[in-house]
């Protein structure tokens, strides 16, 4: 038993330790340069959006991967982070060239899948072996929340379903390839995981959820109407709290990924934004 046989004085890393500051700063600088060029009118807002996707999601994933490797001692190859960011950038650029290019973002979860199989992401709660019961529970929660969103949004605010054969699948691809995966990996897999090993579950959930909400509030892609913002905050709060609980309960990030992705499936079905 650990309490009797192991040293209780093992040093603990700081909360922000092993953050790839240089990389994040570089990504932020790149985005700032593009934003400056956009302000000068030298490049279009679509380019700025591409830079934002790469910088924001790339930073979240880079931090998550570094924290996971440091906290759990998993072997993360030197190529893991650069390849992830490169794939994100490639997908974003492809989407800039042609909206259907967003499908290339699916290379990101595919690459992360390879890392999972290698056992490099166990620190994020992504182990090669998955227990399906929590995943089904996560999917059920995502479906319930998504269904509720569909009903309430259509009944109260009168939002219709999104039209067009390709629009919804492309948004799903974006969620699966960048939005959901980066949010879950960072806010739950890295931040919540790190905090829950220092603080109580409630405190860790509160901080991780607040951070996740901030990420969506500052997201320029989120519509700014008050009712949409209020609804988003409500659903994302519930979704984040449930995802934290799922990770705590199962020790796996997959149930939270399932819940989030299914919820965003419903969200993207609505013609919001």
């Amino acid at each position: 038993m650990w309490s009797l046989e192991r040293p209780a004085t093992a040093p603990r890393a700081g909360i922000l330790e092993n953050t790839p500051v240089t990389l994040v700063a570089a990504l932020g600088l790149g985005w700032t340069v593009v934003a400056g060029l956009t302000a000068l009118g030298w490049v279009t807002r679509d380019v700025l959006r591409t830079a934002a996707i790469t910088a924001a999601h790339g930073s979240l994933l880079a931090i998550a991967l570094n924290w996971a490797a440091a906290d759990r001692g998993a072997r993360l190859g030197r190529e893991a982070v650069p390849v992830t960011i490169a794939l994100l950038g490639a997908g974003a650029v492809a989407a800039l060239v042609d909206p259907r290019g967003v499908v290339l973002l699916l290379a990101v979860p595919a690459w992360l899948g390879i890392l999972v199989v290698r056992g490099s992401l166990t620190g994020l709660g992504l182990a090669p072996h998955v227990t399906w019961r929590p995943v089904l529970a996560g999917a059920a929660v995502g479906a319930l929340l998504g269904a509720h969103l569909l009903v309430s949004a259509s009944q109260t605010l009168g939002y219709a379903l999104r039209e067009g054969a390709t629009a919804v699948p492309l948004l799903w691809a974006y969620d699966l390839g960048a939005n959901v995966i980066s949010a879950e990996c960072f806010f739950r897999g890295a931040l919540f995981n790190r905090l829950q090993r220092r603080w109580s579950i409630a405190a860790a959930t509160t901080v991780a959820t607040t951070a996740a909400l901030l990420r969506y509030v500052v997201d320029p892609l989120l519509p700014k109407q008050v009712e949409v913002m209020a609804g988003a905050l409500f659903y994302l709060t519930v979704l984040s709290a449930v995802d934290c609980w799922l990770l705590w309960w199962s020790g796996s990030l997959v149930p939270g990924l399932a819940a989030s992705w299914i919820f965003f499936l419903a969200y993207r079905t609505l013609a919001i934004g």
């Binding site: 309490s3 009797l4 046989e5 192991r6």
Partner: protein, 480 residues
């Protein structure tokens, strides 16, 4: 699981029922939501109450928001909003109270179980094992261990060793509980908490638990209290066991003392009877027959000798009685010349002629600070013993010398000696070493000798080995 499904179905059923009525109709069906919310809160606690209430609110929210969109904040819509708030409050508060009550009931039952586990008298290892099994069954934890500090070693239940820098060792040293939010390694967070088992404010052991999940502050406080109870219960069990052992030992000692007293009464009677018989015989002879003067003198000397013996025996009894009452013998200390005192004591025995008494005592020795009667009794007891337990015709050496402000006396014989195992007991009252055979004695002599020497502030020492004789050495303070 069935209960959860039933609750979910009932919430949905209420949703369907009330959903058919428009918000504006002021339908009272919405109050039916309270039923599953309260049941969930009472049955499963605060989380279930809050989740069920949240589900009920989520079910109503679309209709309420739609009504507000349609007609603004009408009284009917306001009432529905208030109902939602009341549902959330009811689910949370009732659940919290129910959780608290359930926790209290669990703790109460646990304490009872702890008491039951330690009710039976058992060695510490077994009692600790029982207690650990009880805690493992009733505490909702993944692992539990108990460490108890004994007189010379640690007893551990739930582990094999206690590392010096471990959590339990730290708590055992500091006496303060400690919580570790993550013991590291696993996919799920594993918390550890250790609390000291306290007896009289001192840590006597540690209760350590580990769980994959939360150990809240309230639970830590409860575990600390439980540890104190466990400490007290273990201490009580230890005391009961110790008391039982004491009672058994006491009964054995009483039985042994009774047997010793009985043997003493028999021996003492015999000891008293022997000189009395001699006195009676000689006095009858003197009363009934005529003897010449020399014979009368001889008989008178024998009668005097037996009377002196009687006096010694009675004095021993009286001294022993004082010793047993915790009193020291009465002494009247003065400066006593050593050589005459030794010679006088030896002279009594010299008349018997059974042994050769060798006295080695310098006339120039300093005077000894002692009670003259007591010194005489000490010497006579020791010389008498030496003669009693050594064959006739052998030497008995009596010596005295001055060393370092004390006078050292020694009486040495060439007798059978005393068995090694008997040496620690020879100064105990009533004790008679095995193998003394038919030698007379009540087992009082050496006890009285020791008490008299102690009363002088002196010391006595006995060296003996079977077949090599016995040497008794004692020291008394010299006159400065």
């Amino acid at each position: 699981m069935k209960e959860i499904v039933a609750l979910a179905v009932s919430v949905l059923a209420v949703g369907v029922l009330s959903g058919r009525a428009a918000i504006d109709d002021m339908s009272l069906l919405r109050y039916l939501y309270f039923l599953p919310v309260i049941v969930a809160a009472l049955r499963f606690g605060v989380v279930a109450g809050a989740v069920t209430a949240g589900a009920a609110v989520l079910l109503q929210a679309p209709a309420i928001f739609a009504a507000i969109e349609r007609g603004g904040v009408t009284p009917a819509a306001s009432e529905h909003v208030v109902t939602c708030i009341a549902l959330l409050l009811a689910g949370t508060l009732v659940g919290r109270l129910a959780s608290y009550a359930q926790a209290q009931r669990r703790r109460w039952r646990l304490l009872l179980a702890v008491q039951r586990a330690l009710a039976e008298d058992a060695p510490l290892e077994i009692a600790l094992g029982r207690l650990r099994a009880c805690l493992a069954m009733r505490l909702d934890v993944d692992d539990v261990a108990l460490v108890v500090r004994g007189e010379d070693r640690l007893t551990i239940a739930g582990g094999f060793r206690l590392a010096d820098d471990s959590l339990a060792a730290e708590v055992l040293t500091s006496g303060r509980p400690r919580y570790v939010p993550d013991v590291g390694g696993g996919a799920r967070v594993r918390r550890a908490f250790a609390a000291p088992l306290l007896v009289g404010g001192e840590p006597t052991g540690v209760l350590a638990v580990e769980r994959e999940g939360e150990i809240s502050a309230a639970e830590q406080a409860a575990l600390s209290t439980l540890a104190v109870h466990c400490g007290l219960a273990l201490e009580n069990a230890r005391l009961v066991s110790q008391q039982r052992r004491f009672a058994e030992e006491l009964a054995e000692r009483i039985a042994s003392a009774t047997a010793t007293k009985s043997a003493f009464v028999a021996t003492a009677s015999h000891e008293l009877r022997t000189p009395l018989t001699a006195l009676l015989g000689f006095s009858e002879l003197l009363a009934q027959r005529r003897f010449d003067a020399a014979e009368v003198r001889r008989m008178a000397e024998l009668m005097q000798h037996e009377t002196e013996r009687l006096v010694r025996i009675v004095d021993d009894f009286l001294d022993l009685s004082r010793i047993e009452r915790g009193l020291e013998p009465r002494l009247s200390r003065a400066a006593v010349k050593v050589a005459p005192a030794v010679a006088a004591a030896v002279e009594v025995f010299r008349r018997t002629g059974s042994h050769r008494l060798v006295v080695e005592c310098d006339e120039t020795l300093p005077e000894v600070d002692a009670d003259a009667d007591a010194l005489d009794r000490i010497l006579k007891n020791l010389v008498g013993n030496a003669m009693k337990y050594s064959p006739a015709g052998t030497d008995v050496h009596v010596a005295a010398r001055a060393t370092d402000h004390v006078i050292e006396f020694s009486v040495r014989d060439a007798g059978r000696g005393i068995p090694t195992e008997a040496l620690p007991h020879v100064f105990e009252p009533y004790y008679r070493a095995p193998g003394v055979g038919s030698a007379r004695g009540a087992g009082l002599g050496l006890a009285v000798v020791k008490s008299l020497i102690d009363a002088h502030g002196g010391s006595v020492h006995l060296d003996s080995a079977p077949g090599e004789g016995t040497r008794v050495t004692f020291v008394l303070p010299a006159v400065p």
